[in-house]
């Protein structure tokens, strides 16, 4: 009994050539526009690109400690939000009686403006680290909770029935079926939330902390240093792209079985 095995895997999709360069062309266009603006407007409104570049090199680079701090805060808070949010999502997905209550809490939470949380956090917590952590946690948790709850709702009943035919306990169902099924949704949530979380942490640092990128931007603003603010902005745009790419790489590595499916 021998059977022919299909070995070839479909290739991953790649952007066509003209699209791959679009980003670079757009960036160059922005630099040219900035240069033109700096020639017609005063420099405290539109600094020339050379000034921004010099700020980036001379003022931002020495502040790598603040950058690492922001990144560390982001990683810690995102990681905790992922755990707590996934937990809530599992509760919503697995315990039908608890679902409406947890869902209500999550829906109310999503409706609360980020700014309210930031101001509340300043009142509630004295330590800046705790404030930032809290703010990010309450903002990001609902995304994970809802993402995971939806994932469980989308779980094929066929697979559950098959799994149950071996008479597993609850923990085994979670481990062998629900968790692997939910994992891609957790990645998708992370991919879509990481940019938002980065913007929010900068905002939170501006309001609630004395160190970190947001606090440094507040300082530059107090000094009327627009070149430095724009330099930070460029850095953050770059950071966002890098973080997205990072998540995508981890995702592709951990969910390699899906690569071929997605192409279809």
């Amino acid at each position: 009994m021998t059977i022919e095995v299909m070995q070839e895997k479909p290739a991953l999709p790649r952007l066509p050539k003209h699209e791959r360069y679009a980003g670079i062309i757009t960036a160059v266009a922005i630099v040219i526009l900035l240069q033109i603006a700096s020639m017609v407007a005063p420099h405290y409104i539109a600094p020339p690109p050379a000034d921004i570049l010099s700020s980036l090199w001379n003022k931002l680079l020495p502040l790598y400690g603040d950058m690492l701090l922001t990144l560390g805060r982001l990683a810690l808070a995102l990681g905790c939000a992922m755990l707590v949010g996934t937990g809530l999502g599992l509760v919503m997905g697995m315990f039908p009686t608890a679902r409406p209550y947890v869902r209500s809490v999550v829906v109310i939470d999503t409706g609360i403006p980020a700014l309210s949380w930031m101001l509340i956090a300043v009142f509630w917590f004295r330590m800046p680290e705790l404030r930032i952590f809290f703010i990010l946690l309450v903002i990001v948790i609902p995304f994970y909770a809802l993402g995971v709850a939806d994932a469980i709702r989308a779980m094929p009943k066929d697979l559950l029935e098959m799994c149950e035919s071996f008479r597993p306990n609850r923990w085994q169902v979670l481990r062998y079926l629900i968790f692997p099924h939910v994992l891609p949704y957790i990645f998708a949530t992370t991919r879509s939330v990481i940019g938002y979380a980065t913007r929010m942490i900068i905002f939170a640092e501006l309001i609630a902390a004395t160190a970190g990128i947001g606090a440094q931007m507040g300082l530059a603003q107090a000094n009327f240093d627009i070149a430095t603010i724009l330099a930070w902005t460029i850095l953050l745009v770059g950071l966002n792209i890098v973080l997205q790419q990072l998540v995508t790489w981890v995702e592709q590595y951990m969910l390699s079985y899906r690569q071929a499916i997605e192409v279809r």
Binding site: I3, M6, K9, D158, E161, S165, Y257, R258, I261
Partner: protein, 260 residues
């Protein structure tokens, strides 16, 4: 531990592997099973034949313990499969109509699932799963994911997954019916040979009369809502003599209301 003790206790008793007594199942107004009684002896291969909607899958769900009967009693090795769900660990395995493979697991890892659920040791699990993949002719596909396999190969993996836990009872619900005719025939021949070699108790649902005559020790023909229309023990003559085969085939077809 508990399962092992229980199993020895059960083997000593002379209860049939599966027993339904005056079972009725209704879903709201729909009567899925009217009044069904039958027993399957240990080591017997029984085929359920019936048209779509006759209640065959519902009967299997009763035996799996996914469903409690509205009336009557269901016993598997003397145990109520729904009320004492965990007690039948390792006793029952199921092959479904579709392969139901986990897309994130390779063929080999899919075969390992049942063994993992039964807490078998890691190296033993890998060894058994590898053996079973080879037995269904897929040793070279061990590391491929389900989407890289053909429909027939996927169904082989799913049957290997069921057989790997060495169950006493194998339930098969139309598990060849989604495959093309040739694939299904080859697979059916392989699986029925395996079941006979291993002397498993097997209850398989099908709507193909040929399947039933060729594989089963006994055929139960169902009419909706799940009542027995005919019970027959196919003989070697039924299987090998084309004329006898045709007579039996036509008798069953007539009972099923299929005019050919």
């Amino acid at each position: 531990m508990q399962t092992a003790l229980m199993k020895t206790a059960m083997v000593q008793t002379d209860l049939p592997a599966i027993q339904l007594q005056q079972v009725g199942v209704t879903f709201g107004d729909v009567v899925a099973i009217q009044n069904l009684s039958f027993a399957v002896e240990r080591g017997e291969i029984v085929s359920f034949l019936g048209r779509t909607g006759a209640g065959k899958s519902t009967a299997l769900n009763l035996i799996m313990g996914n469903l409690a009967p509205t009336r009557g009693e269901v016993r598997v090795m003397g145990i109520d499969p729904k009320a004492e769900f965990q007690q039948l660990r390792r006793v029952i395995a199921v092959g479904f109509q579709t392969d139901r493979l986990m897309p994130w697991r390779t063929a080999l890892e899919n075969v390992e699932l049942g063994l993992q659920i039964l807490h078998e040791e890691k190296t033993a699990t890998r060894k058994k799963a590898t053996e079973w993949l080879a037995r269904v002719g897929l040793e070279r596909a061990a590391n491929l994911y389900p989407h890289e396999l053909s429909g027939g190969m996927r169904q082989r993996v799913s049957l290997a997954r069921a057989l790997a836990i060495d169950p006493e009872i194998l339930l098969l619900d139309e598990c060849f019916s989604q495959l093309d005719h040739v694939t299904s025939q080859v697979l059916r021949a392989d699986i029925s040979r395996l079941i006979r070699e291993l002397r498993k108790t097997c209850l398989f649902v099908t709507h193909r009369i040929d399947d039933a005559i060729e594989m089963a020790d006994r055929i139960l023909v169902f009419g909706a809502p799940a009542k027995l229309l005919l019970e027959h023990h196919p003989t070697e003559a039924d299987r090998n003599d084309p004329a006898a085969f045709k007579v039996l085939h036509d008798l069953i077809a007539e009972k099923l209301g299929i005019v050919e």
